[in-house]
Symmetry: C2
Subunit: 226 residues, 2 copies
DNA sequence: CGGTACTTTGATTTCCTTCAATCACCGTGG
DNA sequence: CCACGGTGATTGAAGGAAATCAAAGTACCG
């Protein structure tokens, strides 16, 4: 936890607008890149030149094992930052699961500024802390929960992070295989679990399995085990 | 459960505003707390007053679910910081798995200094990035690997983080239940897997199952799948 | 339409968990 | 010194949750 090592994704800080706004300033000048579904933002081994902020869509940040198994570390939604904290090469890959837009920031410049701008450095710190909390939460889910608990927890976190206030319907914007690789399950198990939740009356699947209506949030919360 | 914080006065150093070594400076004045095996450094829900640096022993940082299941997020070894990046209350618990010593730093003071000291802020940022990388690596292990791969990966990471240069023997300094809760397995599976590794001639168990000699590192690396 | 990519559902297998018993280690006190 | 109780580790047998294998169903797009 000390020592110099590399690192990657980070969730965006809430747009405070106050304090040091070096980050926001640079955002305004950054170019936007459009991505089709399945297109990569960067790959493991790529030189790390930019930090990205998701503007639209969903970006899956993941790690692949030599034999092809894949663990998705996080889905980045609009407002989230990815690519922070890396020295040298990327150790993770990032891929759009749906058509997306990202804003590109020169990484070197950002960190050079942070060396003298405590406000910006603190902002980066907070952003990474938030990302760490999310990763820990996923670790608990994957390490301790059953399939139905994992899926319930995933739906709830998606709801919390992307649904507008009060909306009960969430847009998956990703395939079953993405959910499976996030939760450490297979696509078959994800599919079976979703149908089980539907039969229980907790959720409803709409529009060719891409949209999910959370009919019974309390029950879903209970199933997720907090 | 609240740990007694009787001996924790951090002697009054003033914020020097000096760059890179504010952290080390404060370390020098911080008091050391001794912990017995199983004693808690802090618990979920405790007010977060300090950041700790492990001086000796092993501290397990973990999260418990309402029904008692436990996921260890990380083992902190000498040199590691714990308790960073928390606002308000602790959401995790930290417990010594063996007799340990930690150095206590006032969290509020540390972060107040970071507000104007970019060097310190950047240091905190790097430390959290480091921790994030470790957590992600564990997530990949727990989400994708089989029991034998998990145990092999654990032994290797323990070796990397704690073994002196060239040493092939590692000291577990924790129970099977701690390893199980880290890897998302049961104590029985951990035990069986260790004996299987012993039968394969990859490791050797010494001193009442608390020390492990890694006889065949290349094979272990292969088993861990990178 | 026809083809592709993705999802769902079913049958079977596997790995890990659960339950249960035994064993080993260690400090204590008779 | 050794019987003892307690904690933790190991081992075995049985059961179960999810993986794997296989096939059919469904949406999408040229």
């Amino acid at each position: 936890m000390l020592a110099a090592h590399t690192d990657e994704t980070v969730r965006g800080t809430r747009a405070t607008g106050q304090e040091s706004n070096s980050l926001d300033q640079r955002m305004a000048y950054a170019t936007v890149r459009r991505l089709r579904a399945k297109e990569h933002v960067f790959c493991e081994g790529d030189e790390r030149e930019h930090v990205f902020r998701v503007e639209e869509g969903v970006i899956a940040v993941y790690k692949t094992l030599p034999d092809g198994r894949r663990q998705i570390i996080d889905f980045a939604y609009p407002g989230d930052l990815i690519g922070l904290g890396v020295i040298g090469e990327h150790v993770l890959s990032a891929q759009a699961t749906a058509p997306s837009k990202v804003r590109c920031l020169a990484a070197a410049a950002l960190e050079r500024i942070a060396e003298t701008d405590a406000g910006l450095a603190l902002k980066l710190y907070k952003a990474v802390c938030q990302e760490l909390a999310a990763t820990r939460s996923l670790l608990v889910t994957v390490g301790q929960r059953s399939a139905i608990e994992r899926v319930a927890a995933f739906l709830l976190s998606l709801h919390r992070r992307t649904a507008p206030e009060g909306a009960a319907t969430i847009n998956l914007a990703m395939r079953r295989s993405d959910i499976a690789d996030l939760l450490g399950l297979t696509i078959e198990t994800v599919s079976r679990t979703l149908t089980k939740l539907r039969c229980m009356g907790v959720i409803d699947l709409e529009q060719g399995a891409t949209r999910v209506r959370l009919c019974d949030l309390p029950h879903l919360l209970e199933l997720a085990n907090e």
